[in-house]
Amino acid sequence: MRFTFAGAEYEGREGETLAAALVRHGILGGFRSVERGRPRGVYSAHEEEPNALVQVGAEPMLRATLVELRDGLVAEPLAGKGRLVAAPAPRCESMHAHCEVLVVGGGASGRAAAAAARGRVILLEQGRCAPLDGVLVLDRTVALGLYERDWVLAVERGRRLWKIRARRVVLATGAIERPPLFPGNDAPGVMLASAYEAYGRPAGATPVSGGFSPRVHLWSQAGGRLRWDERIGAPVPDGELPGVECVGRVTGAGLPDAPPFALPEGDEDEVFVDLERDVTLADLRRAVGAGLRSLEHLKRYTTIGTGSDQGKTANVNAIRAAAELLGVHPGELGTTTFRPPYVPVSFVVVAGRERGPLFDPVRTTPMHPWHVAHGAVFEDVGQWRRPRFYPRDGEDMEAAVLRECAAAREHVAIQDVSTLGKIDVQGPDALEFLNRIYTNAYDSLEVGRCRYGVMCTADGMMLDDGVVMRVGERRYVCTTTTGNAARVLDWMEEWRQTEWPELRVWLTSVTEQWAVAAVVGPDARELLAPLTRVPLDAGSFPFMAIREGEVAGIPARVCRVSFSGELAFEVWVDGRRGLELWEALASAGDATPYGTEAMHVLRAEKAYPIVGQETDGTVTPHDLGMEWVISKTKRDFVGKRSLARPDTSRADRKQLVALLPVNPDALLREGSQIVAAPNERASQGHVTSSYRSAALGRTFALALVAAGRSRYGEVVYAVPPRGEPVPAEIVEAVVYDKEGSRRDGRPAA
């Protein structure tokens, strides 16, 4: 086969590494160092290589000693720095595995340990490795890290990440040869004796050896202690680590005695301690002269050990040299920390398959196919994808939303509200539980009725809101906001299980059990009447009442709740029939489907807050003007005590108000800050919501403004991110139908 290196073409052999081929062709140099641009050549035969770095196509910083030749391979030498290029990412994946014994290292002692082990056994080997009976042998697989003593991360053939949970981990990781320190120890042709042998004693090459350093990386990562071994002149594993054992050369056993170590004569700026980082003995001496005593300081001053080889051939020499310079024993210096990964691993391998469409789930409701088919524009709400609006031919968002709002206020409109969180609360103590969790009281709530509720965090800030329906003597269903459904159920469970275990109450998520459609507008009855036998007139079906029956032939629970101020019915059906219900509603009469944007406008006209938009974790129900939802009679509820703290009861807290721009066509930018005068710089609050109102025929906004409720009529200025402050008048938060006259729809004719 043929391959290209630095522009010249060479013949290569099957199974040969790029480094081996270069050396065989007599190329003992061919590389340059990162800082000083000194000529360098292949130095080792394995992953510790400090010099021979190449770029192969889009792959940067490959070690020539690990690159397996293939026909047509084109490699360019790199001076310690690679190139990132835009190219399609390779497909990578990850895999979980469990075993009784995991052996790292396929050498003689590793294979022996694996062969002797019982149960499920996995053997990892960096290079190629023969199979072993009853053992899962993963070759060309490098162990990157040992976490918490029983969890090993490994990468197989550069594309599969293994996450292996092992009862026992056996480290048979062997040792790395290190160079001796002498002037010119970085010259092309100088190579480690082990590499010299591996490459068949190439002509012109000079074998050198400064002894061997055990691969103690995984042991140390897992918290194993190290001890300086005089004989081999390197740190070795020391003491015990539950579930982890070292065998073979990593323990120091079987390694040759290290040659005696002394600081070399001659030009210390020619003696390389770290070849990849281009650091010399002179640099190290300078660091000591600067007053540095700890190995970590010397490392940072000189950058020894920070190269892509992580100092595999440099660190031990650095310890020995530093000890000489400081006149201490190497053992006193310890080592720098060993941090995963043992060899560099590409981002895409770690990321695996959970990228692009699999990066994070998109949650959709049973009605979703209809929304897609009808051209909805969607909005991400948490993981949910909800219709934001349904543009008709040529409509932009503004036009579509004005039309959808007008339909809800003047005729009838429908919204898919299936994403509401829903929690079934059952048990003899259900009422007591709700009274403790919500700020308001439920004692007077009758079966078949529902009530708006608010809950606070323990420090009194608005957590969520929703509707509590009493559907039985000891059974309630609570709704939550879309984004908070999981959080609220977890919150309730935490209090139930950890603080109030004596309460006989049980919680079940029914969020996806029910699909829900909101039918909104003065003609809501006209739309529903043909589809149901449930009496809909205000007398027999009052506001905040619940009825059971059928809608469009589907068993349904119908609730008269309104998030718009208009006459509205929520129709709840079995989730599997949600689409059927929706299609029936959409084709009955001429209901206008509307999305989250119109819903936001409609609720804002009535000053109904959106948790997370009007609130940000610093807003109390009082700030929102909701004193009426805070029980005065209950002894306690979650958050009650915090509402009595000096700061949470200040009169000048930011309060929810509406803003009417002086220019009725000016739309305030959501997020704009409020100031008292155009040139003022002291913030008095911010705009939380801002819309064009079809009902008002003008723009309006909701804002949190310092002492806002005492400042009606005052003109303040909304400062946008760009452009001039916009004057707007502070008014009462409810800007539409203050008296609530539209709630029951048109008076019966």
Binding site: L358, V362, W506, E512, G575
Partner: protein
């Protein structure tokens, strides 16, 4: 490698029941006409029952529409799941069940037979889970 078959399986009427479970922790078992699946020390699922069947339990909730079921069948089915599930699947023998994570999603894992696995998920996640499983299948085929 032998192929793995992926299909969606319809679930019968299902309820969540509260009280003393009729099955041991993380186990399944037959209960008059249905299959009981352990969910917690005071909570279990019955596949094949209605609220009326458990009127005397501490609590019972119809959750028939709250889960969909994917079935993986074939010798390498476990190898597909192992790509996104950190459980020791060898220990999850037929008759056991587990609530855990598959990729980014909460799942209820059942193993009706040695080489047949059932993955129950909330319907809103079905699209993601199906896409994830189909993508994982590419790795074992």
């Amino acid at each position: 490698m032998t192929g793995v078959r992926l299909r969606e399986v319809a679930l019968p009427a299902t309820v969540t029941v509260r009280g003393e479970p009729p099955v041991a922790a993380n186990a399944t078992g037959p209960v008059d006409g249905g299959l009981a699946v352990w969910l917690g020390p005071d909570e279990w699922l019955v596949l094949g029952a209605t609220e009326a069947d458990y009127a005397h339990a501490d609590a019972v909730v119809d959750v028939s529409a709250s889960r969909v079921c994917f079935e993986l069948a074939g010798a390498d089915a476990a190898a597909v799941l192992a790509r996104g599930c950190s459980l020791d699947l060898d220990a999850l023998v037929p008759g056991r069940c587990a609530q855990t994570l598959l990729a980014r999603v909460d799942v209820l894992l059942l193993r009706p037979e040695e080489t047949t696995w059932r993955v129950l998920v909330r319907p809103s996640y079905a699209g993601y889970v199906r896409a994830w499983l189909e993508d994982a299948l590419r790795e074992v085929e």
